[in-house]
């Protein structure tokens, strides 16, 4: 109805509208109007940017010692500024700041430190975008051990020595015979177990095979459940993400199931996945397929599980004051293989100061810094010789088992997959997740093998 009124008007107004001044003005007025709105928007952007230099997030870690000096500092690049994607917000930032202060002091190179995004997959995506734009905005970056293969075309080959580094990690960082990243610290899948419970149920030591693990978890759970209805035998990372690739690969390799890319549907691999599916609702909670690292840790550190598959950092948090399991758990190698994780340092191919950048990489991964990081913050070194260091062993007694873990350590096939690793890993963990949900193992994993071989075709 409103419109018909308006229509009537328009018709009546038509002669008026023919007057020249009627249209001469609006264009200017319209422009002024729109421009004013855009100026407001510009003002808002300006205000938002004013507030951007936010105070750095507070860190809880307090350092007892200062970092070691740069070994053979080279002051040739003093005065240059590097942009560096370093430790993400949280625990690692205090270490990063202290190290960078020392580095700036010794070399005269200034470092503009940007914490990398919290989750690894976001971080990966952002690097990809930086590289896509061939942006010189980033010089040095921390990269996950599974990325060198994918990011290699955008990384500078390093001329640093890898002597004394863990060979699996060095191999993982070599792409086409060139070293593109330096391993800085590592993670490895470990088996956490409750010493008090094992003793109470008459077990001498941690399980050496998945059969033993199952059997022990079952009997401890049967004994504990009447007292604590939330108690479960074994927790692990079962959410549909990279963590499941790590867990599943460990099951597969440990039980003779071959490698991730070619033999995912070997009879042994299928048995390993079916076995894990059988844990859900028996020795593992039904919710385990929703668990990521922190959910798993919550359950174990709340005293609600006998065994846990996790990375080394839980050793410190489990023994922190106030933790219900403090002093009541120990760490053992997983039955069989253990997947290596961790972070490496690399230089962007679009950096304007590659030599200065390489200095920072060298410092971050050098022996004294690795030792300092280990003693101060329990970051595990990538140089096996450090695991004999008495101070380190005193701080982290479980490090004594690490040489044994390294013997069976495996890396994910990221170097071979190159930029397809993310997708390969997704195909793999989504396939395993299907089996864990009750899907037919042979059909699901057969499909995974077909998808993977199709993906890997040149």
């Amino acid at each position: 109805m409103g419109t018909s009124l308006a229509c009537a008007h328009t018709r009546k107004l038509a002669p008026l509208a023919e007057q020249a001044q009627y249209l001469a003005l609006p264009r200017v007025e319209l422009t002024v109007f729109v421009v004013r709105a855009l100026l407001w928007v510009g003002f808002i952007v300006f205000l938002a940017n004013l507030t951007v230099p936010a105070p750095p997030p507070s860190t809880s870690a307090t350092l007892r010692t200062t970092p070691p000096p740069v070994p053979r500092p080279d002051r040739r690049w003093a005065g240059t500024t590097l942009t560096y994607y370093g430790e993400r917000p949280g625990f690692g930032m205090a270490f990063e700041r202290a190290l960078l202060r020392q580095f700036e002091q010794d070399t005269g190179i200034r470092v503009n430190y940007i914490p990398r995004p919290l989750s690894a997959s976001e971080c990966y995506a952002s690097y990809q975008r930086v590289f896509q734009a061939r942006s010189p905005d980033v010089d040095v970056m921390m990269v996950d051990v599974v990325w060198p293969g994918a990011l290699a075309p955008h990384l500078v080959p390093l001329s640093l020595s890898t002597e004394g580094f863990l060979p699996q990690l060095v191999e993982n960082s070599m792409v086409d015979g060139k070293l593109v990243a330096m391993p800085g610290y590592l993670g490895a899948g470990l088996l956490y177990y409750r010493t008090d419970l094992l003793q109470r149920y008459g077990y001498e030591g941690p399980p050496r095979s998945f059969d033993e693990l199952e059997q022990m978890a079952k009997s401890i759970q049967a004994g504990e459940k009447p007292v604590n209805p939330r108690f479960v035998g074994f927790v692990w990372q079962g959410y549909t993400y990279e963590g499941l690739t790590c867990n599943a690969l460990e099951w597969q390799v440990s039980q003779g199931g071959g490698q991730m890319l070619d033999q995912v549907d070997s009879p042994e691999a299928l048995r390993a996945f079916s076995r894990a599916a059988g844990w859900i609702g028996t020795i593992s909670p039904a919710g385990v397929t929703g668990y990521q690292e922190e959910d798993v840790r919550n359950v174990f550190e709340g005293g609600n599980a006998a065994f846990m598959r996790h990375w080394p950092y839980c050793y410190a948090s489990g023994n922190a004051p106030g933790s219900p399991v403090k002093g009541r758990f120990e760490v053992a190698p997983l039955p069989g293989a253990s997947v290596l994780g961790g972070w490496e340092w690399a230089v962007s191919a679009y950096s304007r100061h590659p030599q200065a950048a390489e200095q920072l990489v060298a410092y971050q991964t050098c022996l004294p810094v690795q030792r300092w990081r280990a003693v101060e913050g329990a970051f595990l070194p990538t140089r096996p010789e450090l695991y004999k260091d008495p101070e380190l062993l005193e701080r982290m007694p479980f490090c004594a088992i690490m040489p044994e873990v390294f013997r069976q350590a495996i890396t994910r096939p990221s170097t071979r997959c190159r930029d397809l690793y993310n997708e390969a890993s997704s195909i793999y963990f989504q396939g395993v997740a299907t089996v864990l949900q009750g899907g037919d193992p042979a059909a699901s994993m057969g499909r995974v093998r077909r998808d993977l071989s199709e993906l890997m075709q040149p």
């Binding site: 249209l23 990809q128 209805p229 939330r230 039904a286 919710g287 929703g290 930029d419 997740a433 299907t434």
Partner: protein, 286 residues
């Protein structure tokens, strides 16, 4: 004549912006969908014709996400509509505290989906969640349930979040429809001795029909592009990826712009089809 030019001048900024943020990107998405483009890759881009679409046709992940999306849309729309209608009828009657009631109904609608999903995820927590706790206390549950992980409960759990979040919106839409129905019709029906139930079927529903259909279509379209709830609750879990989540994974996480764009085009066509139906049914009324 001059007035017409002025009208287009007034429309120009809007059309320009829409061209930049909608039409040009859409054209580009369409163009990409015929190539094997990858993001952050130095490989050359090839024209591959319809291959991305043929690949989709044999991809079980595509069918599983399509079926999930359709099931999700159906279940949520049915529940939301029924509940929304009940709530609208209740609010439409006269009682003390009606304002409070309307306010309470607006609460879920005003909360961002990401936040409401996180809130529900916390309520669903298998160890510390309040749902398990209440269920155990009232004796409805024998043992704690992993609402957000166990395949037996996951789908209803996801639907419940959307139902909670969107029912109020539907209730308000229907309420607006109810309020334009003149009260004297009911008075007449009362005099004729029609029972409230008869009045509902014979008067309310037919008079509410336009509001009902608009609401249903709005909601169906919304449910078809569901992303936030699924992404926040279960990430990329197999069989629990909606079309939009699947699309985002292929496009952003795998950096496969070609096949990802093909999925985008399919989603666009699916929704465009519904919009077309909607337009045919109602049109822009003058």
């Amino acid at each position: 004549m001059e007035r017409r030019r002025l009208a287009w001048l007034l429309l120009a900024p809007t059309l320009l912006v829409l061209a930049v943020v909608a039409f040009y990107p859409l054209a580009q998405t369409l163009a990409y969908s015929f190539t094997d483009a990858r993001l952050g890759s130095s490989r050359p881009v090839h024209f591959v014709g319809l291959r991305n679409y043929f690949d989709l046709l044999v991809d079980p992940r595509f069918y599983s996400s399509l079926s999930l999306t359709v099931r999700f849309a159906t279940v949520t729309v049915v529940f939301e509509f029924t509940l929304g209608l009940i709530i609208a009828l209740v609010i439409n009657s006269q009682f003390r505290g009606r304002g409070l009631m309307r306010a309470a109904v607006l609460v879920p609608w005003a909360i961002p989906t990401v936040m409401s999903t996180q809130m529900w995820k916390w309520m669903y927590h298998d160890v510390f969640g309040v749902l398990n706790d209440l269920g155990l206390r009232c004796g409805l549950l024998a043992a704690p349930v992993a609402w957000a992980a166990d395949p037996a409960y996951l789908f209803p759990a996801l639907c419940a979040v959307d139902i909670w979040k969107t029912t109020p919106f539907i209730a308000l839409m229907l309420l607006a429809g109810l309020q334009v129905i003149p009260a004297d019709i009911y008075e007449a029906a009362d005099i004729d001795g029609a029972s409230p139930l008869q009045q509902f079927w014979a008067l309310t529903l037919p008079l509410l029909r336009p509001a009902i259909v608009v609401t249903l279509i709005f909601r169906t379209l919304d449910a078809l592009r569901a992303f936030d709830i699924f992404y926040v609750m279960v990430g990329n879990r197999p069989h629990y990826q909606t079309l939009a989540v699947f699309n985002q994974q292929v496009l952003v996480e795998f950096s496969r712009v070609g096949p990802g764009s093909a999925i985008s085009v399919v989603i666009f066509l699916l929704i465009a089809f519904f919009v077309f139906v909607y337009m045919r049914l109602f049109g822009v009324r003058e």
